[in-house]
């Protein structure tokens, strides 16, 4: 997992590269938590354009970060999932709480 970060105004965009599964979940979770703590007042966009695979371990990572941000009154979005990832996120009900840009 590789993550690149862009910041503009009060929005941080994290671009995820590679595959998000149980193996890469922990480092992804830790990295995003640091990012959330560093930019205290920003909303978070997870840009999945360069993420080639995600299974339900990724759902756990995303929902966990969403809960953290929400408890701070901050927002989270996902963007550009491929068809496989879109299917996993749709099935899990993720889109009922997190908006796809």
């Amino acid at each position: 997992m590789q993550i690149k970060v862009k910041q503009q105004d009060n929005v941080i965009t994290a671009l995820l590269y590679g595959e998000l599964d149980h193996h890469s979940a922990q480092e992804t979770r830790e990295y995003l938590d640091k990012l959330i703590a560093k930019f205290r007042n920003s909303d978070l966009v997870l840009d999945l354009k360069n993420l080639s695979f995600m299974d339900s371990s990724g759902i756990g990572v995303i929902i966990g970060r969403y809960k953290k941000l929400k408890s701070d009154g901050r927002r989270m979005y996902v963007a550009n999932p491929n068809r496989q990832i879109d299917k996993v996120m749709g099935l899990s009900g993720l889109y009922s709480i997190i908006k796809k840009l």
Binding site: D21, F53, D55, S56, S57, G60, G64
Partner: protein, 143 residues
């Protein structure tokens, strides 16, 4: 005569093997000329089953996971077996959002993903003996 192809993969329950396992089964299934979406479905389902074995079957030790697959006609059959702790209540384990992993490492959606992405999912398990998840998917013949 119809030729049946088979393969078997034995791996220690290390999380680094999750990507390898799903890639191998996905590559094996390409012999049936599936669409990219069908390959992605198979890889996702295998990833869920292998991850379950790594997290739940062997919570405190590294054990062996056996992945066997066969192609018969247009149907892929894949089994993921472990000799770990087993599942005491299979029906409960298959419920959406049910998880015994408390650290949000899983969303409780593993079996739901397998059932949605494959045509048939059978779980055989006994506490203390291990678990086998057997999944079938028929690849539609390309026009």
């Amino acid at each position: 005569m119809e030729i049946k192809n088979t393969m078997e993969l034995r791996l220690p329950s290390l999380s680094i093997n999750e990507g390898f396992a799903r890639s191998v089964v996905g590559a094996f299934a390409t012999q049936l000329n599936p669409t990219l979406e069908e390959v992605a479905d198979i890889k996702t389902a295998v990833s869920e089953a292998v991850t379950n074995a790594i997290i739940h079957a062997y919570p405190d030790r590294i054990g062996e996971i056996v992945i066997s697959a066969s192609l018969s006609g247009q149907t892929l059959e894949v089994s993921i077996s472990d000799k770990g702790v087993g599942i005491s209540d299979i029906e409960q384990a298959r419920q959406p959002f049910f998880s015994t992993a408390g650290d949000e490492s899983r969303s409780g959606m593993g079996f739901t993903v397998m059932e949605t992405f494959m045509d048939e999912v059978t779980v055989i398990s006994a506490p203390g003996e291990g678990t086998t998840v057997r999944m079938l998917k028929t690849i539609k013949t390309q026009g």
